[in-house]
Amino acid sequence: MSWILPPSASTFAGEIDFLYYVILVITGIAFVVVEVGLLVFAIKYRARPGRKAQYIEGSTKAEIIWTAVPAVTLVIIGLMSGGVWNHIKGRNSIPPNAIPYEVHVKQFEWNFTYRGPDGQLGTSDDFIVRNQLHIPVNRPVELQLIAEDVIHSFFVPAFRVKQDAVPGMDIRVWFEATKVGEYEIACAELCGLGHYRMRARVFVHSAEDYQQWLSDRAAAADEE
């Protein structure tokens, strides 16, 4: 059992993981205080014959303390979260140099549409690769998630990215991978009987490899 987050490979991981550990520590303290308190009280104040409990109806001071402390703590967590949230999912958070992709999501496939050699999406030289997303390292990418039937959710655990793809909605998600390698994409929203197998992969290439892959694929697509 482990409360350590698994290895990460995107720029979001730092912020999200940090926030997670902050909350883990705070809630850990609260957890220990309450559980140890309960245990101590349970032992110390267990019934003994001939003893009467102390008649205490409450204490305004104590209650103010344990209202204020959680309230302040929670607001601080909220404020810390707000900035990170805006950076990741805010309306204008997508960096202008992000490489655009279109992702057509259907039961139970991810069809990634790549810009062809002309560097434009939506032109005839675009090509589609099923269940494989190839991206360059250290460069933001922007995915437009287009759900064609039901709601799916784009989830890359290693990138700490999750975003529902909702039919009829214009949904964009961005991230920037930091390590070359191969990672799994999962669907995180129940989408039918094949939901559990709606798996795809992200291949993070170095910039040169990515260019090489692109031109190979474009050439192959051209042949057909």
Partner: protein, 246 residues
């Protein structure tokens, strides 16, 4: 399929709503002997250059890709030396009166190498269609017919079989696999047994007919339909060829 829910609910209470469709078989229809011994056979040809079938990207399905030694293509128009396969031929005119014998043998369709085999299958109303999975991975079979009941079932493991029975004639019931977007198949559901699917060599045979003049119709998923007339004597055989163009 917007069946009125109350019916299904009532059926559930009566305990006869178990919709596996496979258990009962077409047993209701009496097994009768063939009405005749004549047969019609023929060849489906394709004239011109066959269009190239699209390549399938099976790179994320290694188990299936391994079953295709050369790069897998989707056999939408399957032409070998001018012979066209996967054409569904059936008698549409001049039919003898029923009742028609329902074959006790099920029609079969297999999922193998992430393709439906065969791609086109004929099945009689009331006859069992056995759908099997030869791939060690998930396939689902989704059929959205217009005359029959919709179904969408899964076969997550190799060796599984699901039986389905269609209750109304329909040309054609489309099958698709949602896991593998390229997988399509078509089932021709006919109320009589006089149908056939052209094989890899383009040939087909419809047998068990009494003497008479028949109109036949040939259906192809992208090339449309053609029809032709043919007369056959008792216990005889006749030939009718179809030619589809590119």
């Amino acid at each position: 399929m917007r069946r009125f829910w109350v019916t299904s609910c009532l059926f559930a209470f009566l305990g006869c709503g178990g919709g596996d469709g496979g258990s009962g078989g077409g047993g209701g229809a009496a097994e009768t002997a063939p009405l005749g011994n004549a047969s019609i056979s023929g060849m489906v040809m394709f004239s011109g250059d066959a269009p190239a079938n699209p390549a399938i990207d099976m790179s994320e399905e290694p188990e299936c890709a391994a079953k295709h030694t050369d790069g897998p293509t989707n056999p939408i128009v399957s032409v070998t030396d001018g012979h066209l396969a996967n054409v569904f031929v059936r008698v549409v005119g001049g039919l003898p009166g029923g009742p028609y014998p329902v074959p006790s043998e099920p029609a079969t369709i297999d999922q193998n190498g992430c393709l439906y085999v065969p791609r086109v299958v004929g099945v009689m109303v009331g006859q069992t269609l056995a759908i099997t999975n030869s791939d060690p991975l998930l396939h689902n079979i989704k059929a959205v017919p217009t005359e029959n009941r919709l179904f969408n079932i899964s076969q997550p493991r190799a060796g599984m079989t699901s039986n389905r029975i269609f209750t109304a004639p329909e040309i054609m019931v489309p099958f698709e696999c949602s896991v593998h977007g390229w997988m399509n198949a078509y089932a021709g559901v006919v109320e009589h047994p006089y149908f056939a699917v052209s094989g890899a060599d383009g040939s087909f045979t419809i047998s068990g007919l009494p003497a008479g003049t028949y109109q036949l119709e040939a259906w192809h998923e992208t090339l449309g339909t053609q029809s032709g007339d043919v007369t056959v004597e008792a216990d005889g055989s006749a030939t009718l060829n179809f030619t589809f163009g590119g």
